[in-house]
Every structure is written in C-alpha cells, then in structure tokens.
Amino acid sequence: MSEAIETHEHDVVIIGAGGAGLRAAISAAQPGVRVAVLCKSLLGKAHTVMAEGGAAAALGNLDAADSWRTHFYDTVRSAHFINNYRTAEIFAKEAPDRIIELEGWGALFDRTPDGKIMQRPFGAHTFRRLAHVGDHTGLELIRTLQYRAIQSEVEFFQEFTSTRLLLDGDRVAGVMGYYRETGRFALFRARAVVLATGGWGRLYQVTSNSWESTGDGAAMAFMAGAELGDMEMVQFHPTGMVWPPGVRGILVTEGVRGEGGVLLNSEGERFMLRYDPERQELSSRDVVARAIYKEVQAGRGTPHGGAWLDITHKGAAFILRKLPNMYDQYLTLANVDITKTKFEVAPTCHYTMGGVRADPETCATTVKGLYACGEVACGLHGANRLGGNSLSDLLVFGRRAGEAAREWAQGLEAQPGIDAAEVQAEQERVLAPFSVEKGENPYDLHAQLQAVMSTHAGIARDRAGLEAGLAKVEELKERSRKVACGGSRMFNPGWHMCFDVKSMLTLGEAIIRSAMARTESRGAHWRTDYPDETEEMGSVNFVVWRDGDEMKLKTAPVPKMPPELRALFETGRAPGVPAPTGSPSERR
C-alpha cells in the first residue's frame, strides 16, 4: 500500500542535531539557501549534551607554550599515527577560533583569574587545554549552537527518523524517513546531505551512549555506497559507573582524574604508576582502560569488577564546584558521596573512532554531494581519540561540512532526480515488520548482538573469538530478516528498534571484519594474539564498502606527513616542552 508522501525540497539537508549537525546548519544557512535539519530526538537532546570534560583547543590561556603544533602532536601520537595528518592539522589550527566563536554566541565557559576562558588538564594533553563549564560542557555547547541556529532561517524537523539516502546516479538526491509521532513518511529532496548522526556505542552492553547512538547514519552511508574506515577502532572510556546494575556504563568524566582523582586497585595500589609512570592517571584512554581491565583480570578488582577512583583529598568545596554533576550522579543513583569516599569505576564503550571516510578539507565522502562530520566521520582520531577532542571536532568539521555542502548545492543547476520506484520500495521495506507473523523481537536481537559484540569484539580480542563473533552476527542478520513489531505507527519504539538493529548489525559486521584484518595491537584495538604494534600495519587503514549484498574489505594507505610535520615527532618531546631536567613530578 502506498500513501501520498509529504515532499520537501531543500538545498542542504543535515541529518542529526548534535554539535556537528547544528554547527553545519549555522554555516550552511545563508540568505536564499534552503537548509533543513532532521533530528531523531527533540532539539537539544542529542548525545553531545552528555559530553562532560571540555573542548580541547590550544588557546594557551594558562600555558602560553601551547600551540596548534602541540595539539597536533598530542592528537597524532594518541591516534597511533593512523589518522589523517591533514585532518588533524586543520583541526588543531582551527579549534581555538571555533571556541572563541562560541563565546561570541553566548557560551559562558569557566574563567581564569584574569577573565579568560579557563582550561583544564586532561588525559594525554601536554598542556592545560580543555575549555569547560564544570562537568557539563556538552550542554553548554549544544545549547549555544541550538539558540544560535533557531535565530536563522534553518527549518527543523524534530523526532524524524531517517531510513535511507536516495541517489540520482552517483550523487545524493535526498533522504527518506518517517515522523516518529505519526509514523507517516516524508521525502526530503536535497542537493547536498550532511551526515552528523553520531556513533554506535549501543552495539555494546556497557556503554555511556544514549539510545540514539545506533549508527543509522553510517549504515545509511554504507548502503548508499560510501566507504567506512577504521571500524575496528572502538573507544572504551576507562571510567564508567559500575554499580548498581541499572547505571552500569554511565560516564564518569575524565575531569575527575583531570582535577586530581587517582585510581586504586583492591590492594590500595595506585596501579597507573606501573602502567604509565610518566602520565599516570592522565595517560590516554586506551592505556587506562586496558590497565583497569588487566587489574580486574589479575584478581585485584573492586567488589563489582572495576577499580576505585578517589578524589576525596581535594575537599568537598572543590569537588562541588568542579564536578557538581558527578557528585549528584553518584549520590542520587548509587548512594555514594564522592566527597567522602572512593567509588567504583570500570571501562564503558564510549566513542567510535571509525566511520564514514571524509575528506579533511570539505568532509566530502566517496558519494557525491554527501558530507560527514562529527563522530560518524572518520579521519581525525585514528586508533584512539583524546578526551576533549570530540567537542572541538564537531565545531571545526561541522562548520567545514556545512560550508562545503552549501557550495556543492549552489554549484548544481537543478535538483537531482528521485526514482519513484525506489521511494515506493523504501516504504514497503519500512512497513514490512508490521506484517511479519511470529517474527523476531527486535529488542531480543539487539540484546543478543550486544552480548556478541561485548564478548567477541570488546576491549580484548583474538582471532578465534572474532571468527566466532562473525558467525553469530551472520546468524543474527539472517534472523533480522524476519524482525516484527505490533501496535500502530504512532510513536512506536518497537517499530523503530527494527531498523536500529539492522543498522547495528551492519556496523557490528564491519567492526569484526576490520578487527580480524588488523593483526596487531594499536590504540583501542587490542589483539591478545598479536600484542605488539607493527610497522607494516601502521601504514594502512582498513576500509569496508558494499558490493551488492556483500561487505568487502580493502586497505588504504595512511596519508604521509610532509617533512615539516614529521619533524615535530623527531625530538621525542612535545613541541613547547623544554628538555627534561629530572624525574617527573608527583601529581598528588
């Protein structure tokens, strides 16, 4: 049964209204340019709102020696040299301007004593670098962008689920989806589409991600023929809540360690001194997460399988001012007063470094007219994302994607064509779960996929486990063909879950295939059967793409840095840091 479909026509359609999508909307919007933002939730609720610690930018407000070169150095080193150097270079150079721009739009960051933007130390950043507002920086960022964007002519379509990218030949032509409220379809014809749809942390059982992080954007791009890169790189944040069960995975900001918190095992030992004597608790996330995992495996875990985090020595007044949400979160949800006692933390799936391969300058994907920015894109973070780099990533590349999409749209002479048969077929596909009898429960499939991914492609991986995981994903994929739902089309979460599961199965397969191919350990990707980083693997990225119904994998060379950037890594010291004159200072 086909229905008359609501049709809109825009120059630029942006999917996603987190930091990247909103920043893209602001730069795409110009008089005479028709811009629409489609978002799966209400405006201002996207996952960006959960970012806590801050936005990294070499403003040098506290440490004058900081510069884009040092930020670039820290980013590339933590990415274990498989990110795109040009993406990182643009990022480090432009991040300060983007932060100052936010201040000009009304953001109120915490201040230094001389009235500038305050900057906080964070894991693996050489200098104090994160602009922040207490422990709710993401809220500040999204609210600033949201209120800026609604002052423009941008049209917002809230609680709209996008299900398919439509093509005209080899270029993008529009987006199809439905309103969650009514279940009715709508077609957005577009000259350019910006994907700003975030990551896919919901693939794992223990995650800090909100329900939205199901990877629909990456899966849609894959279906449309775009390449996905670095899919094996999934970040486990070292510190998520552990107990009680309902809160397992909720993020505990790295700011706790940034502000002086220390990690202890069940024997009271500050074990990070063993794993990274130089950077200690502020080592990169992959190192700290693995250290906690190893301590638990060695029998030195806390009662519920984590590590202790202790910040009581900083005093209640300091904690309440710097970490108000953490205090409230533990008191309300776990009956723990973090100003008085240490608390349990354990790794939680937090971020996906991989995603749609995007050009450093324009965020263009391998599909014409399709752009990707923010977490859904791949290129900046390589094998491990630095804390604080995500928020500035959204701003730098959100802006670039919005501009490039507008320019592409303005360069087209006519609106690309839409294939009516494709629109019809998509409606049938999306409605199919209503007419499957005795089908699969999408919630069950999701729970089983989460179990498979956590067991077989989690923090520790090996060949046998990945192979078994792939077989299970294939089996779940087969079962997902008969996914079913009941009820009406009006605001029906069971129905929505049918597509979320399919997206996640595609990405789960991509993660496992890429993880099998990377026969080494690098950054977040830890292969217990290949424990070392190899030079050979350091020169390639793994890329998956769709060939008919099949997922294909290939390698792409990591772009080579020009000599002047390469030289930054030759002293073995971050730019701006003087030659060492003794033992590293004690933090406590």
Partner: protein, 243 residues
C-alpha cells in the same frame, strides 16, 4: 525491598486512555526508567516513552510519578515506597501517546526571545563572579518539568500570555550576561508576561538541576520591570513626554 513491583502506566493518546498495570522484577538501585524499559522489552514493545541519555543530562524522560513531576531516569524505585507506582505523562502538555507529550510550544517560544547580542566580537574578558549567575541558568536541561508545574500554564493554560519558568530563566540568563547589549525589559513585561508569575516557587522545587528559578531569575526580572516601568519618577517623565 520486594522482588517485583507493580507499575501502573498511562496508555492512550489525545482522545483519552487509562492506566494499565505491569509487574516488573526489581533489581538493586533500579530507577523508574529501567522499569519502563523492562515493560517495553518484555510486556509492551509499543509503549511510547521519550528518553535519551538515562543519566539526567538530556531532560527527555519527564513524567509524573505518583503525582510528582520527575525525571524517570533519576527516580529510584526505593524512594517511592512499597505500593503501586503510577506513571503518567506531563499534564500541562497535550498527550501524543502513552508517556509522550507534545512540547512543541516550548520550541516556538524559544524562537521569540531576542538572542544574545554582544557589544563587540569575542574573545571577552569576563570574571568568574560575573558569569556565575547566568551559568546557573545555563545548567537548564529543558526537561520542562518547571513548565509542567507552573500554575499559570498547568491550571489556567495561559500559554499565550506567559512563557513560563523555563523561558524566564532564559531571558534572565541573557539579561545578566556581562557582554549582552539588548534591552529585554519591555519583552519581559509584555511578550513574556512576567507579571503572571505569583511566586509560588513550585518550579524551582521540581527542577532536577536545582536552579533557583524564582529566587534568582523571576524575582530579579520582576524587579527590573518594576524599576523600569513602575518607578514614579520615570512614570512621570513618560507621562510628560507622552511615551
């Protein structure tokens, strides 16, 4: 605590509906949203509920739990006692389905507030003490629980006259921003309808971010309006000048 608990959840839409009971197994530390998720996964997959972060950051899962407006993700079952837990949608907004309400009015109001307009381009030199008041208001997660309990909106449905507590703190935040140059006093009085608030402070009582909505935003804004509009000397000057 008991092994299972009964949730009585509103099922229906704008044409009406009724509460239906669901038995949910209890685990330690469980919150109301966990129980609602259990119902979705095992008993009623089409139960409509808005939620995003499950960490009290996004303000999506607002509902009335045993008659009190709360975030479902932050309300532990063990603080609600032993009896049946009643979960209903926010009363001040039209029901779409089950626990989901139509809050679009709030987004329309947001567009009407004159935006931040600085004296000169950033960067700004601003001191912590000068930004702290606005920072308090910027902690707002837009859960709209304050709008839900506001008598003007809830009992009198005067949405066309008063913007409600959420947007009073938005106006106050902009007015108290050290670098902002726009005068919103006239807007606050006429368009925003600050005079409708009768200072019962219900809004600040339900705020999950503990923002002092009435004390720190609405009362000062009332005072600014009074200073500007009802100061006898200024009133006399206006009467003489004819504006």
């Amino acid at each position: 605590m008991k092994d299972t608990i009964t949730l009585s959840v509103f099922r229906g839409d704008h044409t009406g509906g009724e509460e239906r009971s669901y038995d949910v197994p209890v685990t330690e530390g469980m919150v109301v949203l966990d129980a609602v998720h259990y119902i979705q996964q095992h008993l009623a997959p089409d139960l409509a509920v808005r939620w995003n972060c499950k960490a009290a950051r996004c303000g999506s899962c607002s509902a009335e739990i045993n008659g009190r407006p709360r975030l479902m993700c932050k309300t532990r079952l063990d603080v609600l006692g032993e009896g049946v837990i009643h979960v209903r949608p926010m009363k001040s907004f039209p029901v779409i389905r089950d626990l989901v309400t139509d809050v679009s009015w709030n987004y329309r109001v947001a567009r009407q507030i004159p935006g931040f307009t600085p004296a000169h381009p950033a960067p700004f030199v601003m001191h912590q003490v000068d930004v702290e008041r606005s920072q308090e208001f910027r902690k707002c997660i837009e859960c709209f629980l304050c709008q839900n309990v506001c008598h003007v909106l809830r009992d009198h449905d005067l949405k066309s006259r008063y913007v409600g507590p959420r947007f009073m703190i938005k106006i106050a935040e902009l007015e108290m921003h050290p670098m902002d140059t726009v005068d919103r006093i006239d807007f606050t009085q006429k368009d925003a309808g600050v005079g409708y608030c009768n200072v019962t402070k219900c809004c600040q009582e339900v705020c999950p971010e503990h923002i002092h909505i009435t004390d720190n935003a609405i009362i000062p804004m009332k005072e600014r309006v009074a200073d500007e509009k009802y100061d006898p000397v200024r009133m006399l000057v206006r009467a003489i000048r004819g504006r």
